[in-house]
């Protein structure tokens, strides 16, 4: 098949190899209806997907989930990625990774390990994960650093842990990780359901920014910090994944190919399955990857906006979740006719938080 010349090729593939997970984080990006997607791709199909991805131009493979380490074939999958010359990253909760497993991941050719930490307060961490997990996460990170494995610590930020952002940075230094991602909650998936319980106050966000700046200015050690600001507090939306169908694709545990891992939240989209079609066909010709690609589909005020090639109208999932219309401008943009919805959510955050709904796989 000859692909249209002007279309970009994907650079990154997110392989969500399972939705199974021992943790129940209330901001998980997995779908709320987890149990609908229980049939997982087998090893041979994933290997074929990696080979097709490499041939299509993917350089970077993110193995994620759920908890990717619950897959018994995880080492085979990492070896397959290495054989395809893909840069491989594994995102894990690290509660099922003992020292031996971490050594095996390295031997299999994994390039980078990303470990989630929910909070630096062990009790708060275990409460949010709904599982005793702090000690195991710490032990896994320390074991990985003992063998020189590159590690990113990823902490999702929200109203329950933002006060401890300084301790988060201290912990990253103490554990000797290479990178720290301070990622404010993105309100899709479980996080949208729990938005009122997770959204920080403006005062919390401003203080956190100050603390990060001060801590980093005072530090002498080596730590690469990526601080993702909460988009609800910004003027313009994020260029979600650098635009729909531009550089990124995801494959869900059941083989559905998605332009973004939360795209399943948008009703009416048909997702092709890697069991039936090649990644190349899916990327270049499927309706769903073309649905919001480029700028031709954009509504006003985006269509005539100077920033249309910068943010492509923002996040489609967020637009749908907040306005009920996936074609709308991301309400985070201050020019959006729905921007009042963001202001209302922020006003709600100034009130006491309602209880959290923890991630469960209902059957």
């Amino acid at each position: 098949m000859m692909p249209p010349r002007e279309l970009p090729r994907p650079r990154a593939l997110l392989a969500e190899i399972t939705y199974r997970c021992p943790l129940q984080c209330p901001y998980c990006s997995n779908p709320l209806e987890l149990a609908r997607y229980k049939s997982e791709l087998d090893t041979a199909t994933w290997v074929r997907v990696f080979e097709q991805a490499a041939a299509l131009g993917v350089a970077q493979l993110h193995l994620s989930g759920g908890e990717p380490l619950v897959r018994r074939d995880i080492l085979d999958l990492i070896r397959a990625a290495r054989d395809c010359e893909l840069y491989s990253n594994l995102s894990t909760g690290a509660t099922v990774a003992d020292e031996k497993m971490i050594e095996r991941l390295r031997e299999a050719g994994l390039d980078h390990l990303q470990v989630s930490l929910l909070d630096t307060d062990p009790q708060a961490n275990d409460w949010l994960a709904a599982a005793p997990s702090y000690d195991r996460k710490r032990d896994a990170v320390l074991a990985a650093k003992r063998i020189g494995f590159p590690v990113t610590l990823n902490v999702v930020l929200h109203r329950h842990n933002l006060e401890r952002i300084g301790e988060v940075i201290e912990t990253a230094f103490a554990w000797g990780v290479d990178r720290l991602e301070l990622a404010n909650t993105q309100y899709t998936g479980w996080a949208f359901r729990n938005r009122a319980a997770l959204m920080p106050t403006r005062a919390q966000v401003e203080r956190a920014q100050r603390v990060v700046d001060e801590k980093l200015a005072a530090s002498t050690g080596r730590l690469d910090v990526v601080h993702v600001l909460p988009d609800y507090f910004e003027e313009f939306p994020k260029a979600c994944l650098h635009g729909w169908g531009m550089v990124f694709m995801a494959v869900a545990p059941d083989g559905a190919a998605l332009p973004c891992q939360t795209a399943r939240e948008i009703p009416g989209l048909q997702f092709p399955n890697v069991r039936d079609s090649s990644l190349e066909e899916i990327w270049f010709t499927s309706d769903v990857f073309q649905r919001f690609r480029g700028t031709d589909w954009l509504p006003e005020p985006c269509r005539s906006c100077d920033r249309r090639e910068i943010d492509f109208g923002g996040c489609r999932c967020q637009a749908y979740l907040m306005t009920g219309d996936a074609n709308a401008t991301d309400p985070v943009c201050h020019l959006s006719p729905h921007h009042h919805l963001v202001a209302e959510a922020l006003a709600e955050a100034e009130k006491p938080a309602p209880p959290l709904a923890f991630r469960v796989m209902r059957t």
Binding site: R9, R11, L56, G57, A59, E85, T152, D178
Partner: protein
């Protein structure tokens, strides 16, 4: 910060990669990549703990007639800012 680097080494999470599909040099790291031109690729390859002066000498040998000193400092500075190189002594 970048000015402090005397002997650049590539960060352990950064990997050079030749992309066969696009015929391009890439420096890949957890959240993205930089597409390298030929001089950029040559500089990245020399980030093995040798001094900046030794890097410049090696580049002059590879690209006769070039005066790469400023480019090397600037590029190493950019990589350091993104946490992709650090000093061998650290």
């Amino acid at each position: 910060m970048a000015d402090g680097i005397r002997r650049p080494v590539l960060a352990p999470h950064a990997r050079y990669r030749w992309d066969k599909v696009r015929s391009e040099h890439q420096l890949v790291f957890p959240e993205g990549m930089i597409v390298l031109n030929e001089p950029g690729k040559a500089i990245v390859e020399l980030c093995d703990g040798r001094s900046l002066r030794e890097m410049v000498a090696a580049l002059k040998e590879k690209f006769p007639g070039a005066e790469p000193e400023d480019d090397v400092r600037e590029f190493i500075g950019q990589l350091a800012e993104r946490g992709l190189v650090h000093d061998a002594a650290e």
